[in-house]
């Protein structure tokens, strides 16, 4: 394999690529080799540096250091236009299409060989031919906004083929597709490879990688871990390479045995923003005094699960029993009153009112009742006194009178948010990636708050993509994939390999 790489010229070669954002390394010393006519999978967890690497290839970012070669010659792209002129194009996760223009017009956009006047009928004919040839059928006279997401993706690929791109980068293309659409896409990818084009396929789903790719490069923490021929790679090896380590279990206080179920979910179904079923029949229980971790690659129904459980989105089917009360279709306010606490993923986007003060944010849910308000009037002294107590007790730093909370640091924001939820003494606390992006001290503080809730007797549902966090806090783990629970285990039985396989879609549990 090494010999082969040396004798033939590579379509693309990257050597020692470094790229950092604001001092955070996204790519460190990355090597990457792409052959002519292959489908090459780029595998890695969230934040492993896959998208950054692709964006460098596509000319969107420039590397801080390192070398790039195309067909053996040194190359440097100043812009995506440059890259496309050299034959490298990318389909981004968020499409770059003009919604009000037709498919044919989108193909023509930015094309250097087309003059000022558009020959729409010729364009449409060419688009139809191209589409038929690659199995990318889409009506060239349709406007983009009329198309489904899968069809829009085909337009993106057609755009690249219309520019005769030799290297096509598809960034997590299957994330937005149904399994059937994904299969059609794989056929197109194979066909492009047979014509001698090279396809980079970004994914974190092992079975897809195994099915469609010739070779795999695994990235972890911004570095290349290795490259292998897909045929030689066992899914379990890939999983270990992706996750990186044999995970160590922290020694933790077993605590009192869990009590009665406080949250019972049966056959829960919740739709995504786009109206697709994102939670597809989940059933589980959370008992008093235990932490149940939900593990999974992001975008597999975490958001919709949380929304469905806290009342932000009414489930389409199933039931949610909270502390003995059916809250399936209750409002957010009823959920709060019935004892649900929720730490959302986005602190300033949803959990806190950025322009209000810390004291006001601490009362964001409790303001309706005494001591914060009496007979419809706010009691300013309660805001001040309760706020001061909680700021002291939860060690929230940087607060000044009148200061909007958005000006606190991430750790202090999160401490304030969790403090507010904990102060309500919820029966069930739902937390999404609560320590994401926090420094060590704040992480510790937030973890301790969550464990204190467990000790108090609350049921905690921890939805996270961070295995360390899940393993440190959970008593039991559920693994979700594409909106279904595919495995469940006590934390003692969790291993990197097993979790990695489950997260990548190898199910242990029969479909619901």
């Amino acid at each position: 394999m090494v010999d082969a790489a040396n004798t033939e010229t590579l379509a693309v070669e990257l050597r020692n690529i470094d790229k950092s954002f604001y001092g955070v390394l996204a790519n460190a010393d990355v090597d990457f080799q792409l052959r002519h006519g292959e489908v090459h999978a780029l595998l890695g967890e969230n934040g492993a540096g896959k998208s950054t690497l692709c964006s460098i290839l596509a000319g969107l970012y420039r590397p801080d250091s390192g070398e790039m070669f195309m067909d053996g010659e040194a190359a440097a792209f100043k812009s995506p236009k440059d890259a496309l002129a050299a034959g490298v194009g990318m389909v981004y996760q968020h499409f770059r299409l003009v919604a009000n223009l037709t498919v044919a017009e989108n193909l023509a956009l930015g094309h250097p060989d087309l003059g000022i006047r558009l020959d729409e009928s010729r364009l449409q004919k060419e688009a139809t031919e191209l589409g038929e040839r690659y199995g990318l059928g889409v009506d060239p006279s349709a406007r983009i906004w009329q198309l489904s997401v899968g069809e829009q993706q085909r337009v993106e690929i057609l755009k690249l083929l219309y520019r005769n791109a030799k290297v096509l980068i598809l960034d997590e293309p299957t994330a937005v597709l149904t399994p059937q659409e994904a299969q059609a896409l794989f056929k197109t990818m194979r066909q492009m490879a047979e014509e001698g084009r090279s396809v980079i396929f970004v994914s974190h789903k092992l079975h897809e990688v195994k099915q469609v790719s010739d070779r795999v490069t695994v990235l972890r923490g911004g570095r290349t871990v290795g490259g292998v021929d897909t045929a030689d790679a066992e899914p379990r090896d890939l999983a270990r390479m992706m996750v990186g380590r044999d995970l160590e279990l922290p020694t933790r206080d077993p605590g009192a045995p869990p009590g009665e179920p406080v949250l019972s979910v049966t056959d829960l179904r919740v739709q995504s923003d786009r109206g697709l079923e994102a939670v597809r029949g989940m059933a589980f229980e959370v008992r008093a005094g235990e932490v149940v971790g939900i593990s999974g690659v992001s975008g597999n129904g975490q958001r919709e699960l949380a929304y469905g459980l806290v009342g932000l989105r009414t489930p389409t089917a199933g039931s949610v029993i909270l502390g003995g009360n059916d809250v399936t279709s209750a409002s957010v306010l009823q959920h709060i009153k019935q004892g649900i606490g929720y730490v959302p993923q986005s602190r300033l986007g949803m959990g806190l009112a950025p322009g209000l003060t810390t004291e006001e944010n601490l009362a964001l849910k409790a303001f309706r009742d005494p001591p914060y308000s009496k007979a419809g009037r706010l009691v300013q002294s309660a805001f001040r006194d309760e706020g001061a107590r909680e700021i002291e007790e939860y060690d929230i730093r940087g607060v000044r009178p009148g200061l909007p909370i958005r000006l606190l640091s991430g750790g202090n924001l999160q401490k304030a948010l969790v403090a507010r939820e904990v102060e309500l003494k919820p029966i069930v606390l739902i937390a999404r990636s609560p320590t994401r992006g926090l420094d060590v001290g704040a992480t510790e503080a937030v973890r301790n708050l969550i464990l204190a809730e467990r000790a108090r007797g609350a049921g905690v549902l921890l939805i996270s993509e961070d295995l360390d966090e899940l393993l440190a806090l959970s008593d039991r783990l559920l693994v979700i994939y594409e909106g279904e629970i595919v495995g469940r285990m006590p934390v003692e039985d969790a291993s990197a390999e097993r979790l990695g396989l489950l997260m990548a879609g190898q199910r242990e549990e029969a479909p619901a």
């Binding site: 709060i336 009112a353 950025p354 322009g355 000006l407 992006g437």
Partner: protein, 373 residues
């Protein structure tokens, strides 16, 4: 990284001095720009400004007139501020003001001399508020339930209201039109029992009602449970939903309240100095000017009171300029310049502009996640 000469970054906590300095600076900067224009057209800016100051505040009579004009401006200013605070862009104050005037004068004419003043006056003023809220609801209901753009609908409804008011007097023989005004159409005078009494020159007690309503708005937004929910929803709709606050009905409530305030202004104006539904005395752009007042007062209902007085003086000084041969439009130009500087000044309150540090290790802005991967 390219080297930049200036760095713009969000300011932490703006000092109270800055919050006071920026509006004052806006007015001053507008006056400087106005002075340049006046000088270019061959006028002496100082004598023009002196004339304006005298027209606004020079005599007890002019002070009374200024406060009289300030009365509706306070209310249209508060109307804009209430809505803008919740990011509801109600720029239909003009139309809501006029429909408020139509309702108020209509009720006053309908009541006739039958009701005593202590009944008639409150009824007339409340009718004005209802009229304004009704006109706002035409935009508010589709905004909340269908997601229409309220900037467009409120703006368009202004012109409908203007033409409707004109129609009632000039285009029809409606009950609002004075049947005795044979030579030229005019509004039917509303009965004395529905007129707000004067106490100083032409100044009536409406100014106190306006101030009381401004204080009420300040209290509602700042001190009540409802106001707290409005502030949360205005700050972040997603956070409000997360906290169990019904965002739609808050938008609806704020929108209607905003319309009601503009309507109160119309009610006070017809029941006060105008005394009839008289388009020539009502269609002065008081609703639009309220937007400038609100912006200059940084949406603070209490600050609106002095700002409205200042703006009223500016408006009233217009006619006096003609006597010294300067176009009345000077006032409009100054108004526009003040708004422009006030909005630009708001940027200075929110952000600071500074030279880059010598040290390269400045912390990244906290807004974006560091890694896009």
């Amino acid at each position: 990284m390219s080297t930049r000469r200036f760095i713009v970054e969000p300011r932490g906590l703006a000092s109270p001095w800055l919050k006071l300095l920026v509006p004052i600076g806006s007015v001053f900067a507008a006056l400087v720009v106005g002075a340049i224009f006046l000088a270019l057209t061959g006028e002496n800016p100082f004598s023009v400004y002196k004339e304006m100051a005298e027209a606004g505040f020079g005599t007890t009579r002019s002070v009374a007139e200024t406060l009289l004009t300030a009365t509706p401006l306070i209310l249209t200013g508060v109307a804009a501020a209430i809505a803008f605070k919740m990011l509801v862009w109600n720029i239909g104050g003009e139309g809501q003001f006029l429909i408020g005037a139509v309702f108020a004068s209509g009720v006053a004419i309908w009541l006739g001399d039958g009701a005593p003043a202590y009944v008639a006056l409150p009824v007339v003023i409340v009718a004005g508020g209802i009229g304004g809220a009704f006109w706002a609801s035409v935009s508010a209901v589709p905004r909340v339930y269908l997601g229409t753009n309220e900037i467009i609908t409120t703006l368009m409804l202004n012109f409908i209201a203007i033409n409707f008011t004109n129609y009632l007097i000039f285009g029809s023989t409606s009950p609002w039109r004075d049947p005795e005004g044979a030579t030229f159409p005019q509004g039917r005078p509303i009965p004395d029992g529905s007129r707000i009494p004067e106490f100083f020159e032409r100044l009536d007690y409406g100014i106190f009602i306006a101030i009381a309503l401004a204080v009420l708005a300040w209290y509602l937004l700042g001190k009540t449970r409802w106001g707290f929910q409005v502030r949360i929803a205005g700050d972040s709709a997603d956070t409000a939903r997360y906290a169990g606050i019904g965002v739609s009905n808050k938008i609806l409530g704020v929108f209607l309240l905003s319309g009601a305030y503009a309507g109160f202004a119309g009610g006070l104006f017809v029941a006060g100095p105008v005394g009839a539904l008289d388009p020539r005395s009502l269609i002065l752009g008081l609703g639009f000017t309220g937007i400038i007042v609100a912006a200059l007062a940084r949406l603070n209902p209490l600050a609106i009171i002095p700002v409205a007085v200042l703006m009223a003086a500016l408006l009233n000084s217009g006619p006096s300029l003609q006597s010294i041969g300067v176009p009345t439009a000077t006032v409009t130009m100054l108004q526009g310049a003040i708004l422009l500087f006030a909005v630009a000044g708001e940027f200075l309150i929110q952000n600071r502009i500074r030279r880059p540090d010598k040290s390269p290790n400045t912390a990244p802005s906290s807004g974006e996640e560091a890694s896009p991967a």
